[in-house]
Amino acid sequence: MCLAIPGQILSIEGDDPLTRTGKVSFGGIVKDVNLAYVPEAKVGDYVIVHVGFALSVVDEKEAQEVFEYLRQMEELSELQEQPT
């Protein structure tokens, strides 16, 4: 039920903050998405969408953190395993 998926904003229409709508592409499938809750969103951004509403703008830097975390975790682990 809380399924929400990331898609990229292709265009934005409307001036009313409550009904501002984006065309959002989900791997090529384009849907209209209400952008009322992401006033900062702009064309090109990825947004997390749930039942027709964007709930957040994907932070591209944080998105890489999972892989950075993995790398640092392994480096630390190797250091700890080396005999002193």
Binding site: I5, P6, Q8, G27
Partner: protein
Amino acid sequence: MRFIEEYRDAEAAQRFAEAIRKTVTRDWTIMEICGGQTHAIMKFGIDELLPPQVTLLHGPGCPVCVTPVELIDKAVELASRPDVIFCSFGDMLRVPGTKGDLLSAKAAGGGVRMVYSPMDALQLALKNPDRQVVFFAVGFETTAPANAMAVYQAKRLSVKNFSILVSHVLVPPAIEAILNAPNNRVQGFLAAGHVCTVMGYTEYEPIAKKYHVPIVVTGFEPLDILQGIYMCVKQLEEGRAEVENQYARSVRREGNRPAQELVREVFEVVPRKWRGIGEIPQSGLGLREPYREYDAERRFALVTGSVEEASECISGLILQGAKKPTDCPAFGTKCTPEHPLGATMVSSEGACAAYFKYRRRS
């Protein structure tokens, strides 16, 4: 698709699993709250990558599962009225009440429509001024902003033929109910990433402190879940009990402020009954007085009856993490997704349905 495929990398998943194996020194029991996470764990076999010391229990985060039977009965009653178009998300249509489900109401001539968004239901109301359009507003905090917007817009546009049947529930009171249960086994939580996208995670900080339990806000892809488990296990091993955020690409500590403001404008916190668990104080949302005219229960003067559940079903214990689906003698035999006895077999996000779909062999 970007921000999905890269988090399904099998090699990186193995590396996280190896890190968890190296970190664990004793038995730990962790609960993932969200049914979407349960589904992903089963689908990708994440539990099979974990060392035997780590047990995952599946939480109550499936709104379809925890919606009380009485409310399903009210939905079926409304859907059977000739003046009503009853709108719902698809996964509520097959949930059995005491007198059938919404699909059978539709088959019997009821005006039942599956919609993708509550705004579609509002559009239907605008296009059908001679009919009453009711939307089945179930869900956790993730769905509340969309439902709040539909009601807010209905009021703004003075739409008189739109209302919602509300069964909104909240995660933090459910976590506390689980931790307060005498048979609780849960030592750490993976909090639901999309609930926290809306609400942030400050309300989890006092819970982590009070019960000395680590809570890791976690996403939904395999690498998200494995990292969340690693962070949780690391805290447990180090004796820490903090709220950490694995899903920072979507979740900010304060959450989504504009969404919270509209939810607070339209809804207030109320007690709610959870199917399989019972009433939990201050655990749900109901419409505030200025918006009560949009409450379908009030508009149609629906009466709540009491309902007996199948006695052999252990879904209440499963939703609280006390039992696993395979502990139930009816699992996969008398109880299947086609003929569910209880809540957790009904929705594809329910623990029993996820086990049935991906784990029938065991």
